[in-house]
Symmetry: C2
Subunit: 126 residues, 2 copies
Amino acid sequence: MQADVLAVLQRRGAPMSAYEVLDQLRDGNPRLAPPTIYRALAALIERGRVHRLESLKAFVACRGEEHRHAPIFSICEECGTVEEAVSKSITNELLRITGQSGFAPARHVIEVHGQCARCESKEAPA
Amino acid sequence: MQADVLAVLQRRGAPMSAYEVLDQLRDGNPRLAPPTIYRALAALIERGRVHRLESLKAFVACRGEEHRHAPIFSICEECGTVEEAVSKSITNELLRITGQSGFAPARHVIEVHGQCARCESKEAPA
DNA sequence: AGATTTGATGTTATAATATAACTTATCTCG
DNA sequence: CGAGATAAGTTATATTATAACATCAAATCT
């Protein structure tokens, strides 16, 4: 099941809601129910193969080579394209800032909304 | 309505779900419905007086002096305490990284989950 | 082999979060 | 007053997520 869910997300290459994934997989298995999908997603996230985009309530296959990192997502509000990046310096800086009060970070959510290059150029065509 | 919602969030001083806010305000106004709350929250967020904690599906009154900044939240997974911080360097670094592909950032979500100093010391008492 | 545990999945129901769509009241400005 | 603009009320429903319990098949033990 995890493999099926991951395959769907990878084929799409863009964020999908859990129910979109569910609909895809129902084609071959009409009795599939939400808990199955959510369980597969939870396991995939645990393994670092899928990320949840909190601000979109959606899921996306991990594109980083190195799983289990702290990804930074750029989300185009125009076309929905999502890019995934990693930055050691941001991770360190976050650690420094949040750690000032003795806070011990375990997990990060970093999501940047805006416009991708393509959409920007379309909107303001010189 | 915005004032009422903000007051509730400020009194609590911690994240609340929209429905918790709703319940509070229903004491004085039993016919209150979700859309009213969500509209007030949307307006308050627009004005920078309230933030949505995406990874908690919850809302919190802004504690920064300067509204309309890009806040960083430390969220203790033990006691639920939330701290709000701002960092110019992180904002700049995010801009640098996401901007490499021509992306134009408009809004950030930065949420760090972990343990606050208090809870950490409780758990590992020397 | 038979018993047993384990882990994943199936199944049913419902909880929690959020919004659409339409109505009504209020304000303000000409 | 009347037209237009805002905010709020109202009803219904959409979307996202999980609880709780049942089933099944493989792995392990005796």
